[in-house]
Structures are given as structure tokens and as C-alpha cells.
Symmetry: C2
Subunit: 204 residues, 2 copies
């Protein structure tokens, strides 16, 4: 169909199409955009992609992304090492950091247990979480996996794994999202919000 276009152009469209949410039309737009941009801009993009894959590694403590042996969060002495927030991926760590309300440390699993997709506990980065707990000094593990079937399953699995360790295990609170509209919230969330209701303290 596109035999009138050079192969290298179609190859670039094909590579761009592999990015998440990028269809053929968007991939064409990206390639045509690069066509118009100066050589240096395209080279900078290409070089940054290469350097990114060369330099980025996972923190040996928490599996967060870093260019060093230990990531900046793990190295930060002002953060509370006794509280660890377990997340599925780096995107979740970024979301929690953006709140500015968590001053503990993290553990990134890089996945969730998902038997239907053939992903078992050994396929996610659980082992070094156990090592961290065994080394001691951890008081609380907040399991912040997503509130879906795989996330719940993984949370339960981790809770069981750690149940004999001297560590408090918590899960992110369920409830209505701030700004949410009651009538559009599913029954399970609404039931959870009722259960986790708070006393309004007018005396303060």
C-alpha cells in the first residue's frame, strides 16, 4: 500500500508504532515531524534513547531506576528507612512521590503476580524485599499495588509471605476519590468508603 514511500521511512513508522498508544497515523506524524526537524534534533533523540538503555539500571536495594548502584531515594538520609511502600512499577512510585506526602522508601516489584499471564511470584522482584525485611529495622510495609484482581492477589501473597516477620503490613485505603461523583462510584468502592468512614471532629 505504501510502496511509493522509502523503506527506511516505513521502518521508522513501524518502530514508532511499537510505543504505547501510538497507532499508524500517529507514527506517520512522528516520522514526518522528524523529516522537518534539523539533523541534530533527530540525532539527540536517537542518542538519548541509546544512552538511556545503556545507563539506566535498577537500584540494588529497591529496584527503582537509577544510573548508580543505589538510587537517590534509598540514599537520602532524610527519608524514613523503617517504612517501605511496595509498588508495581516506577510509574506508581512517580505518582506517590508527586503527592509529596510520603517520606519513607520504596520497593518496586516491576510487575504483579498474574497466573493467567503466566507471571508467578518468582517473575517479579520479591526476593530482595524479603532480604530487606530480614535485615531488620523495617517497621511497616505499605502495599500499594493497584486495586485490581492481580494487584489484590499480589498484596495478599506478600502479606502471607511476611506474616511471621516482625513488621506491620498495611494496604492503601479504599474509598471515594476526591472530586468523585457519588452516583458514578461502584458499589464495592462505596461499601469500602462506608466502612472506612471518619468522625468529623468539630471541636478542633
Amino acid at each position: 500500500m505504501y510502496s511509493f514511500l522509502p523503506n527506511i521511512f516505513l521502518k521508522l513508522v513501524n518502530e514508532f508504532s511499537k510505543l504505547p498508544g501510538v497507532g499508524e497515523k500517529t507514527a506517520f506524524k512522528f516520522a514526518l515531524h522528524l523529516l522537518k526537524r534539523p539533523e541534530e534534533e533527530a540525532r539527540l533523540l536517537a542518542d538519548t534513547i541509546s544512552k538511556f538503555k545503556e545507563d539506566i539500571k535498577l537500584c540494588s536495594v529497591c529496584n527503582n531506576i537509577t544510573t548508580e548502584e543505589v538510587c537517590s531515594i534509598c540514599k537520602d538520609p532524610s527519608r524514613d528507612s523503617a517504612t517501605i511502600c511496595v509498588v508495581e512499577g516506577v510509574e506508581d512510585l512517580i505518582a506517590i512521590e508527586k503527592t509529596g506526602n510520603f517520606r519513607g522508601k520504596y520497593h518496586v516489584l516491576h510487575g504483579v503476580i498474574s497466573p493467567l499471564d503466566g507471571i508467578g511470584p518468582e517473575d517479579i522482584k520479591l526476593k530482595n524485599l524479603l532480604d530487606r525485611v530480614d535485615k531488620g529495622d523495617i517497621k511497616e510495609i505499605i502495599i500499594a499495588t493497584n486495586p485490581d484482581i492481580e494487584g489484590e492477589g499480589t498484596a495478599l501473597y506478600i502479606a502471607k509471605l511476611l506474616k511471621d516477620k516482625k513488621v506491620k503490613i498495611t494496604r492503601l485505603g479504599y474509598g471515594i476519590p476526591v472530586g468523585g461523583d457519588l452516583e458514578f462510584i461502584d458499589e464495592i468502592t462505596l461499601s469500602q468508603a462506608l466502612e472506612s468512614r471518619k468522625t468529623l471532629d468539630f471541636d478542633r
Copy 2:
């Protein structure tokens, strides 16, 4: 704000943000996607971008993209060299080729005249269009610039430039788009569609 993330990660996010329609959120998604993909896939993307900018050049006849001196459309002996369709960019050439209904050749301007943006006639690839017309054998020039102010202005400019040459100059027909809804079509388009009305021939 993102001081907890490695510089090379933020640099990649920044480079991805330069692609059209890509905001910070999407750029993060692209970078996190590459993080999860094998080294080879990222390298292939980087190499393809580099090779694309090195290999792609503009056809010396029509300015279409090619890796050779003359593009595959200009070289195709089965296409009608006497009809040239003038388009603003390669994306327009692709759109017309996809119809499968045009068997002439092209001329890609790589821009439109836009005095407000400081783009004059000398900034778009008009000179080799004149050369082509002067070399003769061209019967019709179809000006297929976009139906906006700059496109119309450029069409008029080209028409004036060629008015003394022995060549028929046409413009793409205006009218209602197929599948369009009459009530939502602007008055100018609707007026044009009335003017360009066709006789329905029931005798055939």
C-alpha cells in the same frame, strides 16, 4: 519536581515531548515503556531514527522523500508526467496516493506562503516547479494546497506565477465531504457545493 529520577530519564522524557501531540504524561509513558523493553528494541528505534535522517533526501524533481536522486513516483513510467499535483507536504501526497485515483505526478512544496509567520515564496520549494513547467510537456497543474488562508494564498500565488505558461491550472473541488452532515457544514462550503452541483444523469 522530579529530582528523584535520573537525569537521563528526564532527558529522554524531554526529547519525546518534542514529538507532535506528545505531552509530559505521554513522554513518561514512552520512556517507561522503553525501560521495560529489551535493549535491542530500543537500539533498533535509535538506529532507525539516525539512519532515517542520514538516508532520506528529497527527490530532485518533485521534492518527495526518497533515498535516491529521483523518487519512485517520478521514476514510474506508467504515471502521467503531463499532470502534476502540487501539495504542501508529504502527508498530503500520502493522503492522495491512498485514494488510488491519481495517476499523475506530484510536486511537494514543503510549506505554504505565510507572511504572518515570515514564510515567503522563496522559503518553499517553488523554483523547481517553474523549471519543470519551463521544460515543457506539462498539460495540467492541480493545486492541492489546504483550503485555509495560507493554502488559498499559495494557490493564488502559484496560479499568477504560471498564468503566462501554456499549462492548465486547476484547484481541488470544494464541496460537502462524503459522509458529512449537511446541518453541520459551514455556509461557505455549502455555497461552494451549490455552485459545483452536478446533473444527475438517469439515462445512463
